[in-house]
Symmetry: C2
Subunit: 408 residues, 2 copies
């Protein structure tokens, strides 16, 4: 039950020169579904990533971070679903390394040139033999136009694959970019979400790509939430394959801003796809907090609204019980907030004026907006010029059903 | 569907000398239910309270805080359900004052000697005329043994009244204490919950009572959560009627500790009754975090577990998907937490050892505990000697149903 989520069509997903994708059915949790993905990069590629800040960060996340930090030239990424390899201690690290070693041997590179990723249930041993056994099949079907299959291969409780492509012209160079993402629950990324991969065919110097991935993540995956649960496995990876004609060597280069904006827009689309397919989601909500002293307090208030179970259930019910939004603003932890200056809008409807009910507000106007499947909540704080936007979904019976049944 | 919640019996609730209670049916939201409560105190009484820290604190909370802060000698409390009088601006303050004025006139005291309270829907005008019209009926049935009716009169989505009594002997003096509480959703008190009232018949000096109410609240109402939504109306009030023989004039007096412990125990019982009757609750969960550096970090981790929708739905399903607890610990915001030293227990079952799955842990042991209706989650941080405990409940379909239907 995705909210106005356009299903990607295989034919609309553009191959990106310099990257090939292959999948396999390893039977990690269930037989007969794609659960292993290999992405192989050209020699010219640079790679940068941001990862979960969860202290229980998964074994593969620890290894991916270390390999990127060591400056290894990344040749391939490997992803498995069905098991998160988190909360698995030293044995988990050993099994993630074993996956990298097996793939490195197949591809003729060093294990440090592989980035491993896992998603699925936490606190259970990774069935590494199944993954290793499936690698040759994945390598055998490596293809440039496998993005749709790749999006399917990283799904867990997702109801649909998430992928999108863009072609942009930057400084006279055509740049093609394609990305995939997954995730429908345990979504409140704190660096990035589990999982997002975006490749494009420009050549980008490592320091530039490191900055770009942070910018794109902050304005996309780091601004979404479904249930406030920051995963142990969140990862967002940018891959500049270097196979195209655009080359960017510094942040000052005029083309950088255009590339940054295009990558950020595509990242945002991928991140919003996760919310639209949020577990049990029936509403897509944009929460914008304006006129704050700084971005941090705007984000605090936006997340407080986005995480309130009472706000989320009211939206599920299409019930304009909007006092719940005020309550969530009030406990957001902005201690010197003067609520008597605060204004609240639901799309075009002015609900609360100077901290109280707008005398002109009519219940039927609130009701009209609440019935929509896409709704913007806008809060004006009258404290400054900062703004932040967060995207989220409602809390429905199906969220409870999905998460009460996840392992069965 | 309360979790092992002993229904209070009217006959077990002891009158407290120096306080009388009366109720009325004002028809605030629906006809034919008790929705107004008046509590009248003896001249000898002292009163202290703690209130919500929500910036959108309700109009009656603002007035009650002001009257207590001004040192007014409190003669009566008045509570209405069906409307929170929050998010109502200046007009809300005027209507709360109008209620106080009407009751003061009936009782022959000043409006500043009244503490008003409201609970119910936010952002809607208080039907003050209905409340004022109902006051004479409430005054007419003022009685010392009306505690059961009082507990019923403050219910909203509660499925049962919450009340308890104790008689303790302190320094040769018999002290009788009775308390009532309400609340089932929008429960993550940050000072106290909406609503708790506890009276006892000792005579207690104001500075002592001010300290006592903070201590009791911190160890009871400030350690519970249902949905993380801090209400606009939380209030917890201690009333020392002064009608008994025990008199406490300073914190150093030897009897103070005994009184503090008795009041705190009764407060905790009342607070836990709220969790046991949490909206849709099927499980009562005690979350204890031990071996922390300080209480604050223990509380952070305990609340992170208690608020995780994924943890709460797993408990609803009796599914030992306990990696979700590790994830919630990991994102609690304790940045220097060394997860490789962490241990996790579910009742007597050792689940995670040194941050990974305990090799001796068996799924069937976890399953056995998860099937219980009362479960203790114990986390050991191996960082210090601090401890904190938080009480919460699971997240079920009924929570969604209740809050999607609340206003209809």
């Amino acid at each position: 039950m995705a909210v106005n989520s356009p299903l990607p069509v295989a034919a609309d997903l553009k191959p990106v020169a310099g990257i090939e994708l292959g999948y396999a059915e390893a039977g990690i949790k269930k037989p007969g579904r794609k659960d292993v993905l290999v992405m192989k990069l050209a020699d010219t590629a640079t790679v940068a990533g941001v990862f979960t800040k969860n202290r229980f960060c998964a074994a593969p996340v620890q290894i991916s971070k270390a390999n990127l930090a060591a400056g290894a030239k990344i040749r391939a990424l490997v992803v498995n679903t069905g098991n998160a390899n988190a909360g698995t201690g030293d044995e988990g690290l050993a099994r993630a390394r074993q996956t990298c070693e097996a793939l490195a041997q197949e591809l003729g590179c060093a294990p440090e040139q592989i980035l491993p990723f896992s998603t699925g249930v936490i606190l259970e041993p990774l069935p590494v033999q199944k993954i290793v056994a499936a690698l040759p099949a994945a390598i055998q079907n490596l293809k440039a136009d496998n993005w749709f299959n790749a999006a399917e291969a990283i799904m867990t409780t997702d109801t649909q694959p998430k992928a999108a492509s863009r072609t942009v012209s930057i400084g006279g160079h055509s740049v093609t970019m394609t990305g995939i993402s997954k995730g429908a629950g345990m979504i409140k990324p704190n660096m990035a979400t589990m999982l997002g991969y975006l490749a494009f065919d420009a050549k980008v110097a490592q320091p530039v790509l490191d900055e770009l991935v942070r910018h794109a993540a902050d304005h996309s995956f780091n601004s979404i939430t479904i249930d406030g649960d920051t995963s142990t496995n969140d990862s967002f990876i940018l891959m500049a394959t270097g196979a195209g004609t655009l080359e960017i060597t510094s942040l000052e280069q005029p083309e950088y801003a255009a590339l940054r904006d295009a990558v950020t827009e595509l990242s945002r689309t991928l991140a919003q796809m996760i919310i639209r397919d949020g577990e049990g989601a029936t509403k897509f909500m944009t929460i914008t907090v304006e006129e704050g002293k700084d971005v941090e307090e705007c984000r605090k208030i936006a997340y407080s609204i986005a995480h309130s179970p009472l706000v989320k259930t009211a939206f599920f019910a299409s019930d304009p019980n909007l006092g719940r939004i005020l309550a969530a603003i009030g406990y957001a932890g902005v201690d010197d907030l003067d609520v008597t200056k605060l204004n609240l809008y639901l799309d075009d409807v002015w609900v609360a004026k100077n901290g109280g009910r707008n005398p002109d507000y009519k219940e039927e106007d609130g009701q009209r907006v609440m019935k929509q499947s896409e709704i913007t909540i806008r809060v004006k704080l009258a404290r400054g010029a900062a703004t932040a936007t967060v995207w989220t979904c409602d809390l429905s019976h199906d969220y409870v059903s999905i998460n009460a049944d996840y392992r069965s």
